[in-house]
Every structure is written in structure tokens, then in C-alpha cells.
Amino acid sequence: MKSNEVITLAKMKQGETGTIVEIAGGHGLTNRLEPMGIREGGKVKKVSGQLMRGPITLMVGSTHTAIGYGMAQKILVEVDGK
């Protein structure tokens, strides 16, 4: 299997799905993200991104969460192939 591109959640396109490979933040960040299901190995779908580095919303399982752009830049996702 050929490995797919790894980019930050912030860079993903609306509607793309993928698998989280790394959360490059401190404990504070991972602790907040974890309960929402946002953790390494989890499947995500980027639902929306706003203009001018606005917040990103993402879906993990049936939980839809909005996070800041800065947080989204710390989440690395391996994007599913087409």
C-alpha cells in the first residue's frame, strides 16, 4: 500500500477524510482534544474551514468539534487517497 500525503488538519480541504498520525502539541492540548475523540490513530473528516485562518470544524465518529486554526496546525493527518 502506498502511503498517502501527511498534512496538517488546517491544510486539508473541506470534506476530506484521513487518519490522525500525530498531535504536535503539549499535554494541555492533547488533554483537551482527547475527550472529543481527536487523538493519534483516529479517523477524521474536515467539515469546514473559515476564511483568514478562522476555526476548523472536524468530525470524529459522531462528534463534531470546532477548534482554532492554531490547534488545527498542530494536528497531522494522513489524508485518504481518492
Partner: protein, 567 residues
């Protein structure tokens, strides 16, 4: 015995609480509705148990003031009722397992059971009960199903036998979920699709503009409709003749007559200008303000229960960051259009002290509550849309500029938005009406006594000549800077009790449109009413409250002065 209702945000704890205790609390479809704790009593066989509605938490580590309240509260409970959302057990059980470690007797309520069916979710409750070793009860809190089981099985609450290694928590949750839950393949529903489209910028922003415009139009339509079709006829055709009879009995004049009924105009009653307790004192809260309160809270409740507010928060996040806030601050702002008191309380969902200060300051200075707005609309509406537009535009500009300045002045990083977005739900009619009724009751209880007190105090001050005295004292400011007649001071004094009465007091002064605009803006900004003031003090503490108060006085004079020059 103290029973705590604990769980993730937005899982229905508050509805369960109301069902168990009969104590009404607000429930809405967004995380962070409950920000403090409310206690109620539940009657058991022989004794009463204290039940506490606790703010929702995702984990035992608090991120906001509201969550702090919740985590502190946990220590005090004897029994924990862990409410979970059956449509999302994975996320919810994560907290459940953390609670298990506290070693307290527990019960698990699988709420939203009604929604599992059409979402194709099957949960083996017996198995879950065996695994966790505590009673698991299915429920639909809004309809009341399952609530009786909670009561009958309360005595079975026990310390969970579930043991695990903290590092393996997510793994354990995963294991539990895969062994008790069976998901049918589920199609994307229309609601899901709408849920996504309305947070995407290109579809979401036009939709938000549409929703806001519609909100405005509908509030005004219902409010005016109720006034002209129901309340005005009621007062003019039924109440006025009765009061006139009483007036005759009292001899049409004298101290008692003037306090009760006020001054007659051309031998008749002018409900806005008479200023008696049973004329203006009733007419203002009931016929001028109540209709708008009703229509505002109707629309707000629909938006809340649908789950729209968190989406709006995402869309306005960028704008709010320019004011040192983040998108979620739109929720307290929105609430404060109804009344500043719940607005100030709701700032507890914001994480930092800076945000809370800015948010509270902006809403106290620039957001008129519905009572005041209703009066401004009635007073300025007569002069066409331009006067009204000017007032609200001014408030909006000051809101933006002041936020921008405060953001620069207060050195502290504003955290980014972080919020769960609930799925859209059709509001449950019963729940909606109940919430509306609660808010109306609250308004009537708070408003009418204060309005009547305001009218009474005004009459006394006026009779004693104190008004004239203070008026002359303040004349340089009020006339010099703001360009208002010195009698307007009176209205500002009363504004501390009730802003709606204060605006009403402008009517007999015969102000020009320009003066009306200035007075409306200044009355919104200069100081909060006493009810807000008390909450402000509790929430901000003495030091920040003084800062906020000085800011209000200064801003109102500054803005009022500028309006006086440029208009």
C-alpha cells in the same frame, strides 16, 4: 444524601434534574448551558435527597470557570448519577471511566434513548451493566420516559467494580463500546447535511445573515402584533375605564391619586405619561415590554434548541478575535439582548479572565436588554427607522471600537475557540414552551416590582424636590456635554432601578429626535441596572467591577458628547 448529576456537556442533565426535582432550570442544545450549580430535592421513600445539577465536563481537568465549578463540586457528592448521551457512548464513557475511579456509588443514565432507534444504534444495556457493575438505565428526559426507573433503582447505586489501567483508558473504552454497541450503516440525513452546510463559510455566512435578519423581523413582527392587537386594546378598552372610575372616587387629584394614577392629561389617562403605579407602572412592563420579551425569548429558544448558536460562534470567531474574544462569546452576547443578568452569568463558558472582562464590559455598555430595546423601539419608532438605526448603529460601532481598544490594553493571550457542535434537532415543543414560560415568569417576577418601585421612587423624589436639586447639580454634564434638559437626570437615576422605566420617563420631556437618540444611547451605556450590577459584582469581583463601572461612565459621556456635536 447528596446526588450529583454529572456528565459531558449537552447530554440532558438539566432536563433530568428538572424531572427529578421539579425545579426548573434552563436546558438548551449547546454545550455550556449550565454554568453554576442548582440544588433541588427528590422525595424518596423515607427521606429527601439533595440533587445537584452540575455544569457539563469532558474530563476531570477543567478548562473554563464553569467546568471548575463542576470539578470542585464532585468531591461533595455521595452518589453520582452519570448522564450519558446514548448516541455517542464512546466519548461519554471516557468520562464514566474517570468517574469510576473516584470510588463513589454510581448510576449510569443512557439518555437520548429515543434517538438511538432512527440512528440505527443498538446498545446492549444488560451487558454494559455487567461490565461496569453499576445500574444502567435508559431514558428520554424530554418526554420523561425512564425517569421513574432512575428513582426506583437509586438504592442500587454502587461503587463500580470496573478496574483498569489509567494509561489504557481509551483502549478500555473502545473495548466496551465494541462489545455493547452495534451500529447499522447509517445514511447521511438531511439534518446532518444542513449541520455541515451551515458551518461552511460560503453557505454558512449567507445563511447566518438570513437567520439574523429573520430573527430581527420576526421579533419585531410578533412584538408589535401583540402590542397593537392584544395589549393596547386591553389597556385602553378595559383597564382605562376602571382606572377612570377610581380616579373619580379619589377626586381626580391629590397625593394618593397622583401616586396611584398619576396626572391626568386632558381629563384622561395617558398610560405612558401619567406615571402612576397602576397606570404607567403596569403599562410599561405589561403592554410595552412583555410582548417583546415574549417574542425575543420565543425566537432565542428556537435557535438554542435547534443547536444553531455554536455554528454562529464558528462563523463569527474571526470578528470576535479582533475584540479580544473568541466566537463562543456570541452566546453570552445573544443572551444579554434578553437580559444582561443571564448574559453576564454565561460568560463563565469563556476560558480567560481577559475574555470575561471584555465580554461583560461590552455587553453592559453596548447591549441594551429587551426591556430597554422595546421602549426605545416604541419611543423612536415614531420618528421612522433613521433614529432607531442611529441608536443601534452607534452601539454597534462602540462595541467594535471598545473591544478593539480593550484587546490592546489588556495584555493576555486570548485562547482559541474549542467547542463541540451539537447536531441539529427539531425543538421539542413541550420543552420549548416550558422554557419560554420560565423566562416569562422570571421577567414578571423581576420586572414588575422594580418598575413599580421605580415609578414610586420617582414620584417621591419629585414631590420632595430632590430631583430639582440633583438636576441643577448635574446640569453642566447633562446639558453641557450631552445637550439634554436637566430633567433627564431623573431618568438616569431611575435607570439604575429599571432601564425601561427610565426610557419611558423621556416621553413627557418632549425631546427632539437628536436628544432622543443621545438619551437612548447614554441610558444604555452609562451604568447597568441594579440587577445586573449585583451579578457583575459577584462575577468580576470588586476591582474589575470598579474598572468596568468607570469605563461605562466614561464611554457614555464620551459617546454622548460626540453625538451631541456631530448630529
Amino acid at each position: 444524601m447528596k446526588i450529583l448529576l454529572v456528565g459531558n456537556p449537552n447530554v440532558g442533565k438539566s432536563v433530568v434534574f428538572t424531572r427529578l426535582t421539579g425545579v426548573d432550570v434552563i436546558a438548551s442544545n449547546y454545550p455550556g448551558t449550565t454554568v453554576g450549580f442548582t440544588e433541588g430535592k427528590l422525595k424518596l421513600d423515607k427521606e429527601f435527597a439533595d440533587v445537584v445539577d452540575v455544569p457539563g465536563i469532558y474530563s476531570l481537568e477543567a478548562a473554563s470557570k464553569a467546568e471548575e465549578v463542576a470539578v470542585k463540586m464532585l468531591e461533595e457528592g455521595d452518589v453520582i448519577i452519570n448522564v450519558i448521551d446514548s448516541t455517542n457512548i464512546e466519548r461519554n464513557l471516557n468520562l464514566t471511566l474517570q468517574l469510576v475511579r473516584m470510588g463513589k456509588p454510581m448510576l449510569v443514565i443512557l439518555n437520548f434513548w429515543d434517538e438511538t432507534h432512527h440512528r440505527g444504534i443498538h446498545i446492549d444495556v444488560e451487558k454494559l451493566e455487567k461490565l461496569l457493575g453499576v445500574p444502567c438505565i435508559t431514558a428520554c428526559a424530554v418526554s420523561g420516559e425512564g425517569i421513574n426507573h432512575i428513582v426506583t433503582r437509586l438504592a442500587e447505586a454502587k461503587v463500580s467494580s470496573f478496574k483498569y489501567n489509567e494509561k489504557e483508558r481509551f483502549h478500555e473504552v473502545g473495548n466496551i463500546v465494541s462489545s455493547v454497541q452495534n451500529l447499522e450503516h447509517r445514511h447521511h440525513t438531511l439534518m446532518d447535511r444542513l449541520g455541515e452546510l451551515t458551518v461552511m463559510p460560503f453557505t454558512g455566512i449567507p445563511f447566518a445573515v438570513f437567520v439574523m435578519a429573520l430573527t430581527f423581523v420576526v421579533i419585531r413582527f410578533i412584538g408589535e402584533g401583540l402590542i397593537t392587537r392584544v395589549f393596547d386594546p386591553l389597556f385602553e378598552k378595559i383597564w382605562a375605564p376602571l382606572v377612570m372610575k377610581l380616579s373619580g372616587v379619589l377626586g381626580s387629584t391629590g397625593f394618593i391619586h397622583d401616586i396611584l394614577i398619576g396626572k391626568l392629561t386632558d381629563g384622561g389617562i395617558d398610560f405612558v405619561q401619567s406615571f402612576g403605579l397602576i397606570t404607567t407602572g403596569l403599562y410599561v412592563p405589561v403592554a410595552m415590554v412583555l410582548p417583546y420579551i415574549l417574542s425575543f425569548y420565543l425566537i432565542l429558544s428556537v435557535l438554542e434548541d435547534m443547536g444553531y448558536l455554536p455554528r454562529l460562534a464558528v462563523l463569527v470567531d474571526n470578528l470576535m478575535h479582533r475584540l479580544g474574544l473568541h466566537g463562543l462569546a456570541i452566546v453570552p452576547m445573544f443572551l444579554s439582548f434578553g437580559c444582561n443578568v443571564p448574559g453576564i452569568m454565561a460568560t463563565r463558558i469563556l476560558e480567560s479572565r481577559k475574555q470575561r472582562f471584555i465580554c461583560v464590559a461590552l455587553m453592559c455598555i453596548c447591549v441594551p436588554c429587551m426591556s430597554q430595546s422595546a421602549m426605545i423601539i416604541s419611543l423612536l419608532g415614531k420618528h421612522g427607522i433613521s433614529g432607531l438605526g442611529m441608536v443601534f448603529l452607534t452601539l454597534f460601532i462602540v462595541w467594535t471600537l471598545l473591544g478593539f481598544i480593550l484587546k490592546k490594553l489588556i495584555k493576555e493571550e486570548t485562547p482559541e475557540i474549542f467547542v463541540e457542535i451539537p447536531s441539529y434537532r427539531l425543538p421539542h415543543m413541550g420543552a420549548l414552551i416550558k422554557k419560554l414560560w420560565m423566562r416569562l415568569r422570571w421577567f414578571l417576577k423581576e420586572a414588575i416590582p422594580f418598575v413599580i418601585l421605580g415609578v414610586f421612587v420617582m414620584n417621591i423624589l419629585y414631590t420632595l424636590g430632590i430631583i430639582d436639586f440633583i438636576g441643577s447639580l448635574m446640569q453642566p454634564v447633562v446639558t453641557g456635554i450631552l445637550g439634554l434638559p436637566k430633567e433627564a437626570v431623573m431618568s438616569m437615576l431611575i435607570g439604575f432601578l429599571r432601564k425601561d422605566v427610565a426610557v419611558g420617563m423621556l416621553v413627557p420631556l418632549g425631546l427632539s429626535l437628536k436628544q432622543l437618540i443621545i438619551a437612548s444611547v447614554v441610558l444604555t451605556m452609562y451604568f447597568p441596572c441594579i440587577a445586573s450590577f449585583v451579578v457583575l459584582f459577584k462575577e468580576l469581583g470588586l476591582k474589575d467591577m470598579i474598572k468596568a463601572a468607570l469605563l461605562m461612565i466614561f464611554t457614555s459621556l464620551f459617546v454622548g458628547g460626540i453625538l451631541n456635536i456631530i448630529l
